[in-house]
């Protein structure tokens, strides 16, 4: 990404002294959306597993997995310390891979998913939010990481050698 982080959205950065945080500014929107998805997916999978699990076990296990990932992503982005952000990065990557793989399978082998999941058909039942959200989230994490390296390079440097 060639652009400088601060030129594009100066209106959001009114406090230049503050360290970039994945849960502040635009990040609040992400946390809210992930929180909502976590709530929806958790509720739905509790219902599916307790009420009619036999109807489509694979779909419902996937729903439960999605719920866990959304919870991890919400907490990780909201906390915003280095470990949390890494955890959130893993969750978002799994989410992206999941929605791509499940989306592709649901088109190729429709019988594999008799009941819809959040990820089938690339999340078309949810306005493709499940596909777009991990992309936006990973972009945001990358952007805040870059920005915090710019603000405090001495803190960001060990992270590189550590991983």
């Amino acid at each position: 990404m060639p652009e400088q982080p601060h030129t594009e959205q100066t209106r959001t950065e009114q406090q230049p002294a503050e360290r970039p945080h994945t849960g502040h500014g635009f990040g609040r929107v992400l946390v809210a959306v992930y929180g909502l998805l976590a709530l929806a997916a958790t509720g739905r999978s509790i219902l599916q597993i307790s009420e009619y699990f036999d109807r489509a076990p694979v779909s419902y296990v996937l729903s439960a997995l999605a719920a866990v990932i959304y919870i991890v992503a919400t907490i990780g982005l909201a906390r915003g310390d280095r470990t949390s952000v890494r955890l959130a990065t893993v969750a978002l990557t799994v989410e992206l891979v999941g929605v791509l793989v499940v989306g592709a399978i649901s088109y190729a082998v429709p019988s594999a998913f008799p009941d819809k999941t959040v990820w089938s058909h690339f999340g078309s039942g949810y306005g493709y939010v499940p596909l777009l959200l991990p992309l936006v989230g990973l972009w945001w994490i990358r952007r805040t990481n870059r920005a915090s390296e710019a603000v405090a390079p001495e803190l960001a440097a060990p992270a590189e050698s550590e991983s």
Binding site: T12, Q15, H24, G25, R28, V29, A32, L39, A40
Partner: protein
């Protein structure tokens, strides 16, 4: 279910959405009108919860009834959560969150009405 109540909630969420959009454009943060409109919606949703729970037995299908009850409770969380997030945020993203929350409540209430009209 209670048609008038649903209409009240939808109008109130529309009002909250307009207020939030206005504040977003004017770069204002959370103020009394936002909080009071949110509180009014929350009261209406609590009435909806009571009405919904007392009438839930009209939905014969067990899974649909469980969905209905789950929606009744879930919709209560949205406004307090979004307003709290908005209070903590001091940029205009605060109003974006409130705007999104208002839309989500409207969608959930419409879904409730849909589940009710299809299965009760």
């Amino acid at each position: 279910m209670l048609q008038p109540l649903t209409v009240v909630v939808l109008v109130a969420t529309g009002l909250l959405a307009i207020l939030a959009a206005h504040h977003l454009l004017r770069r204002r943060l959370v103020d009394d009108p936002i909080v009071l409109t949110g509180a009014a919606i929350e009261v209406a949703l609590l009435v909806q919860l009571v009405v919904g729970l007392t009438n839930a037995s009209a939905i014969a299908d067990g899974a649909e009834r469980a969905t209905f009850i789950a929606y009744l409770f879930t919709v209560l969380v949205v406004i307090p959560a979004t307003v709290l997030i908005a209070i903590k945020e001091k940029t205009q993203w605060a109003m974006a969150v409130v705007l999104g929350g208002a839309v989500v409540v409207a969608i959930l209430v419409a879904r409730l009405q849909q589940v009710w009209s299809l299965h009760a």
